[in-house]
Symmetry: C2
Subunit: 473 residues, 2 copies
Amino acid sequence: MLPQHVRERLRAIVGEAYCLDRPEALVAYSYDATPMHQALPDAVVMPKDTAEVQQVIKLAAEAGIPVVTRGAGSNLCAATVPVGGGIVLVLNRMNRILEIDEQNLTITVQPGVRTSDIHQAVEARGLFYPPDPGSMVVSTIGGNIALNSGGLRGLKYGTTKDYVLGLEAVLPNGEVIRTGGKLMKDVAGYDLTKLLVGSEGTLAVITEAILKLIPKPAMQRVMLATFANLTDAARTVSDIIASRIIPATLEFMDQGTLRVVEDFKQIGLPTDAAAMLLIGQDGDPETVHRDVERIASICRQNGAVQVKVATNAEEADEVMTARRSALAALSRLRPTTILEDATVPRAAITPMVEAIQRIAAAHNVHICTFGHAGDGNLHPTCMTDARNPDEIERVERAFEEIFAVAIELGGTITGEHGVGIVKAPYLEWKLGEAGVEVMKAIKRAFDPNNLLNPGKMFARERRNRVVVNHAQR
Amino acid sequence: MLPQHVRERLRAIVGEAYCLDRPEALVAYSYDATPMHQALPDAVVMPKDTAEVQQVIKLAAEAGIPVVTRGAGSNLCAATVPVGGGIVLVLNRMNRILEIDEQNLTITVQPGVRTSDIHQAVEARGLFYPPDPGSMVVSTIGGNIALNSGGLRGLKYGTTKDYVLGLEAVLPNGEVIRTGGKLMKDVAGYDLTKLLVGSEGTLAVITEAILKLIPKPAMQRVMLATFANLTDAARTVSDIIASRIIPATLEFMDQGTLRVVEDFKQIGLPTDAAAMLLIGQDGDPETVHRDVERIASICRQNGAVQVKVATNAEEADEVMTARRSALAALSRLRPTTILEDATVPRAAITPMVEAIQRIAAAHNVHICTFGHAGDGNLHPTCMTDARNPDEIERVERAFEEIFAVAIELGGTITGEHGVGIVKAPYLEWKLGEAGVEVMKAIKRAFDPNNLLNPGKMFARERRNRVVVNHAQR
């Protein structure tokens, strides 16, 4: 529990209604979307503006209290679980779209704005904000920025980082900085904007963002292609890219995922297929039509069992919903679903998927794989039961082997979910000791007292699910 | 001069022929493309590979000797002038294209590869590396990465940073790190890749880079439009963007530049026009034709005096050459040419150009302005004489006022040239004290002994051209 005088000051800053420390409130903010990670905070604080954030951070710095910034808590790496106790700083009240600037093609937002609200607001003006993480109907833009969220349009359009032009942020010492601006080019010093994107709340609290917009593509089309084996599907992906087409979306589902999704949604997916690709293109009509035809032809040349181009908006929605429901469908199978995101160079998808299947069999665990084939970002997803320690031990070992293979193939331990607690033990596999040391030095440069989101990114040596809060003050 | 034992060890590392300390060699590496900045190094060292770079850096760290990494020296912010003396580390021997990977759409290069050689190599395979800085026929990719170079295609395609996927770099302590990879998505820790891009050789020595490629656009077209006044030209830029077209190129020249270029190239530019736009589009033929027609129509609606669409490759070349020769043409007028790059949000181009003209008149200095209108990146260019201290004093004051206006308009002190020595005194104007302090802390985290490119980015309080080397060991 926080000292009395700290609690009083927090209440004075944000108001009685926005500083919670009843047990039920603390429990509500003790976990996020990541299974098997939980830790109680000491208080939940909901500031209404940057000035209040600044006051909370200054108070926390004086009192030496950890601060974990949180939006919707939809992340999958336990990035917002308060393992060091302290304050959970919830930014959902700061949820205003401050400006859509149609001349400079930017939108300025507070961190608590929902991602899908940004989509709606800008598309109503003929503009487009491409990043579309799976959680976009609940996730906040602040969370997307903190985690550098990806999505289904990453292949052609990139990720959140590619759209953040400027930030306002409160440093661990309580100072406010402003980086970048409504500027397509800015080389005034180190790129603090891009450094803060993906820093998982460990370097600063993001309180405002300027995002880049682009014109909304005139049209979009999607298609499904199913394959009798994995190799045909993977070769299709390579051949599409080799023919100099960059689809907006190029998604993969293995047989396991396909069957579960069909069982859940019943939209007529061929459950005997070994693999499915969901391919979308957008842009000017001529380009889209030509690309769709060429892609369909490449699918057929590579032995696709079925190629189905959505002919209207309902069919297209159905197809996209099938893909977007993969996680929900898989979650119905067993009590616990662990979604990972080992990522490899696009050309290494076949060996990666094959390795996942081999490793799952060897450890007798149930893993289905789907993901963003076009950018090599796969989501091997394990259906398991957190109450079975023996099985969980095997799951952990299987994922360890999967990460090791990803690294061997020139990939990374996380493509879009972040490090948080979950990947911290493996960070050195990707970066080497020297790389991790540099990152720790950057962390110390910003936050010498380790108060912003402690225990993340550089945490313990081994995975350790279900963490209890041992930092009682 | 370096101690005898250090000179001997440098020779042992790189070989006699690649360690120079004769006066004429030191003079050759005492300046770069930035006028009025010069300082002698103590030695010039040309390593052939990463291992040699690593050994040089370790030796420099032990002996406490500054190291300034250098490619072609074509930068415009004095970033490679060795103001602290020490070693100039020239990476031009590391000039191999290591791999073009057509499946992953990447090119892996050593830092000494020329930018235009990358263009040629990938375009021969139907691929495209968009960044095209003005110096691209001499500049090296290592220099482009260190400075985050822009170019004429930034509006649609972004700058160097948007294409760097992975780096190998030698840290100031001699350790080698590898960041990123052939990966479109990677969120394993802080983004060291983007932090090193644009870090001006102050954080690490970049020894290898993986760059993203895209399919080469099927066609490109360019046009010229001239205007009787600045406002019409600026409104045209706004209207093009407002109509949801993002041209590949959207360049601006004021009357002063236009006249000098016409005098130099004699291609029939209307020298009575107040402003000229050079507009290019690329992509699929239907899109390009439609965009070119719409843009031409927008130009006419805004009162363009003349709109001339290049009808063949020769005409297009002529138009692009006119723009690319602006600096060369202006340089013929007076002994010294100072090219700046104040940058503002696109919508603020008119007030910025008007302010430049007003400030130039007030200080009685000759400034012509051209630049990348589409991304608000302007190059006010002053024709002056370094030998006239009174005039130079007025030039400095004029540029100071120009930077101040850029900041007021929500812009920055440098869009694509970098901070180096030239902009260091103004960095705080853009970032505030807290922002600069964070950057200094990052610098210390990487390089606690301040050996990599000292005296840059955070240098003296005031501009001070013609710096002498006062660090004699």
